[in-house]
């Protein structure tokens, strides 16, 4: 399951086996088929109109770049619609989470690539946020 680009030390991210492997395979099988999921391990699909932001060639997590073509297609892949145009349209159709498009999403934890976001949600691994990033959040709430 580990990819060549995965640089995690084995101790911090043991290869999924048994039940954990089953979760990973079910998540990947369903989400790849439905949303072309890229298994970033920290899923925010519901906040992005059910359009996977990791399909964006620039891996943008907070909205489209300025290069979107006038026909709504991607600057990098001009034959394909911009992931974020789809996210915006998708978010308007959602009964919940519409306002999540306005939320500032934290930077990607690249160590979680190819892991199960479901497992990471249950274990809280996807909630790991750099201390400096959290400091601004606390500032804002004051």
């Amino acid at each position: 399951m580990r990819t060549k680009l995965d640089r995690r030390p084995p101790a911090s991210a043991p290869e999924a086996r048994g039940f954990r492997k089953a979760i990973l395979l079910v998540e990947r099988g369903t989400k790849e088929a439905i949303w072309d999921c890229r298994m970033c391990g920290q899923c925010i699909l519901h906040s992005t109109g059910l359009s996977c932001p990791m399909r964006c060639p620039k891996s943008l997590r907070n909205g489209p770049c300025g290069g979107v073509l006038q026909n709504g297609n991607c600057e990098v892949l001009p034959d394909q619609p911009c992931v974020w145009v789809q996210a915006w349209e998708g978010s308007r159709r959602l009964p919940l989470w519409r306002d999540h498009m306005e939320h500032v999403q934290k930077p990607v934890d690249w160590r979680l690539q190819e892991t199960s976001s479901w497992e990471n949600l249950l274990t809280g691994r996807d909630r790991h946020t750099p201390a400096g990033w959290l400091a601004v959040g606390e500032d804002r709430e004051r």
Binding site: P57, K58, S59, L60, R61, N62, G63, P64, C65, G66, G67, V68, L69, Q70, N71, G72, E75, V76, C82, W84, V85, W88, E89, M101, E102, H103, V104, Q105, K106, P107, V108, W110, P130, A131, G132, W133, L134, A135, V136, D139
Partner: protein, 317 residues
């Protein structure tokens, strides 16, 4: 805005309500400092600050930090552009500290044109973080005096944080909200994509006003000074995300080539005049391709001279 004391000349001018003029430095490919000095001498006194682009259009040029340093040598206030295409979060933070240490306290943070748009399409782009992340990281360094990891800087970073936004690219309805996200993350000023389409720009500004953004950020729309019909067509056909309406192309093509530069300045002047009337527009950002003389002429003909004198370097801290 934000109640901070001004951190740069540009910040001081904007905070005082002056209509500001910035320009884009023609990125050079020369190791000779004179190449930047010549442009600095040309622009000094005509504009308040000058953007040092970061491998613009994904073509390598002189580093923005080096160009900024050379501008400072000649008494020109720089705005250092930093793109996420070529740097991960470590490199970004290193460049932010370095930029301020050199005396370049204005930064403009963006995702960047993709490598496929440039002359090294086979390169590995970075995109570790996006522009909103970059802005918030700069804000963490400015307000908390720490890196995003939480490790402390020796002191807080007196940086004036800029962003970009493109009102002319889909999804149009989301663009004002996206600017709102950048403000939420920490952007204090924003330079927009080049404005030709004034009705779309007016809609964008009206929507920003509805969202309450106009009092939270200084907006500097970009104005392009066409030197020829060819340069207008180049923008339309070669640069992703720019909306050049046909009437502009027709106007440029409608005059003989020796008078096209004048027509380009006339179009630029008309757009500047319209922008000055829009609520929430804090200034303009002027762009040309190898047309720095045209920028100087436009500033003069728009009645934007003299520019307020730059005071001596801002006190440290």
């Amino acid at each position: 805005m934000n109640g901070h004391p001004p951190r740069s000349h540009l910040h001081r001018l904007l905070a005082s309500g002056q209509f500001v003029v910035t320009a884009e430095l023609q990125a050079t490919d020369s190791p000779d400092p004179e190449s930047v000095y010549r442009l600095a001498d040309l622009l000094r006194g005509s504009v308040d600050a000058v953007n040092c682009t970061d491998n613009s259009a994904a073509h390598p040029h002189i580093s923005p930090l080096a160009a900024a340093h050379l501008l400072l040598d000649r008494g020109v206030e720089p705005i250092v552009q930093l793109a996420c295409r070529d740097r991960n979060r470590l490199a970004l933070q290193a460049d932010l500290v370095g930029s301020v240490a050199l005396g370049a306290r204005n930064v403009c943070l963006m995702t960047g044109d993709d490598v496929t748009a440039g002359d090294h399409p086979e390169a590995k782009p970075i995109y570790d973080i996006d522009a909103v992340h970059a802005i918030q990281i700069a804000r963490i360094m400015r307000d908390q005096g720490m890196y995003v990891s939480g490790r402390r800087l020796d002191e807080t970073l007196p940086v004036f944080i800029g962003a970009v936004e493109n009102p002319f690219a889909p999804p149009h309805d989301f663009r004002p909200m996206r600017l709102g996200k950048k403000i939420e993350a920490g952007a204090e000023f924003v330079q927009t994509q080049i404005v030709f389409n004034l009705p779309t720009m007016r809609l964008f500004m009206a929507r920003c006003e509805e969202l309450g953004l106009l009092d939270r950020v200084f907006i500097l729309p970009s104005v392009y000074v066409c030197r020829s019909a060819g340069s207008a067509r180049y923008l339309r056909d070669m640069v992703p995300g720019i909306d050049v309406p046909e009437p502009i192309i027709d106007r440029m093509e409608g005059v003989p080539s020796d008078r096209q530069a004048d027509e380009g300045i006339r179009i630029g002047l008309e757009i500047v005049e319209e922008l000055r009337e829009m609520r929430g527009v804090a200034g303009v950002h002027l762009i040309s391709i190898r047309g720095d003389e045209s920028i100087v002429r436009l500033v003069e003909e728009a009645g934007l001279l003299p520019r307020p004198a730059a005071v001596e370097a801002a006190p440290a801290g």
